[in-house]
Symmetry: C2
Subunit: 217 residues, 2 copies
């Protein structure tokens, strides 16, 4: 079983420890604040109060035995950078770090962080697309040019089958799921009839998705 450590139990680090617990994984959770250590002791296998800036503290934690360490300090960019540097020097294979801004991202990249995470920025992208369009419920980037969107089916699509609408031929994108009330219909068949208010899960090139959103829904 992978040995995982989470350093810094803020909103992101703390949520990670809870999620790992739900997935049945062992974790070591570390924070300099005793309140945080107490708050998360029920979710992590080990919870330790320590300041990770000190290299000898990291060694005493036995951090070298861990396969993956997440560094999740926000306000104190220097602590994040120094801790990440120490971890890579101690030979940790995978060090993932949360970045505060573009400058922080660049420095983490240069010192060898294996993955850099921007929780707020990524969420802002999804929320902005939802707000910008009445019809889009969610927007998930797959690559620079392809995405998945959840779009609300309007009156225009009511009582029509996927076959009649022929969306793939007309717009180049593909309806891969339909959310109706609490249920999701995966890979709907051509004869599936759409209802007003269905949430269509559509995959495609961004240009095709825009055309479908403007003209097809």
């Amino acid at each position: 079983m992978k040995q995982i450590a989470v350093l810094g139990l803020g909103r992101f680090g703390g949520s990670l420890v809870k999620e790992f617990n739900e997935l049945g994984l062992d974790t070591m959770a570390v924070d300099k604040s005793i309140d945080k250590v107490n708050e998360f002791s029920q979710y992590a296998t080990h919870t330790i109060q320590a300041n990770t800036l000190d290299e000898s503290t990291l060694k005493q934690l036995g951090i070298r035995n861990f396969d993956l360490v997440v560094v999740s300090f926000g306000e104190d960019i220097e602590a994040s950078i120094l801790t990440t540097l120490h971890l890579k020097e101690l030979g940790i294979k995978q060090v993932w770090a949360k970045a505060q801004n573009d400058y922080h991202h660049k420095v983490l990249e240069k010192i060898g962080a294996d993955r850099i995470i921007h929780p707020e920025r990524d969420m802002a992208k999804r929320v902005a697309h939802h707000i910008a369009s009445e019809k889009i419920i969610d927007f998930i980037e797959l690559s620079k040019e392809h995405s998945i969107v959840e779009i609300i089916a309007s009156e225009k699509l009511h009582n029509q089958t996927l076959l009649e609408l022929d969306i793939r031929a007309k717009y180049g994108c593909s309806i891969v799921g339909i959310q109706r009330n609490e249920d999701v219909i995966v890979a709907p068949l051509a004869e599936e009839v759409l209802h007003k208010g269905d949430v269509l899960i559509v995959i495609g090139h961004n240009m095709d998705l825009n055309r479908f959103e403007e003209k097809g829904v």
Copy 2:
């Protein structure tokens, strides 16, 4: 055009203003800190230094003319709650607020916030699933029981067509896209040949996805 205001220009609020700017939307950006106002003045239509706790300040901002207002204060939960309350009392149709924790979420719900956002928690869910499994690159929740996962195709699937693999019949989930290098193949045909290292975009019920991840990839 929808009139949007963003109150609080931290990592989340600031990213939102930048995203709206890219989508060509007008925004009013407000923060009590002059540094933030200067930082984001190039992205928003109007940028104003103000403390939104004061109801008369909100009226002077002409906030009643806005269709949607995002409240993005983190550390100061009280400011977030009071501002959201004032906005609903002033009759703003859509007030979306970022929540710091479950307690904050409950209060925002009770006072009428129209949507409550947890950027760090949602990102933690995606990252935890990626770390928990070697094969899963990304995990996106669609509902309580259905998700989309990005899974790396192993040696086992190399040089086989989707027809031969018959994943829909065997596992109940559906491959809706294939990421190969920078390109995405949308709604692949049955004759499509898979290569080791392809990233499969799969939709399905969580139980089926787990089975596919364990036995099928």
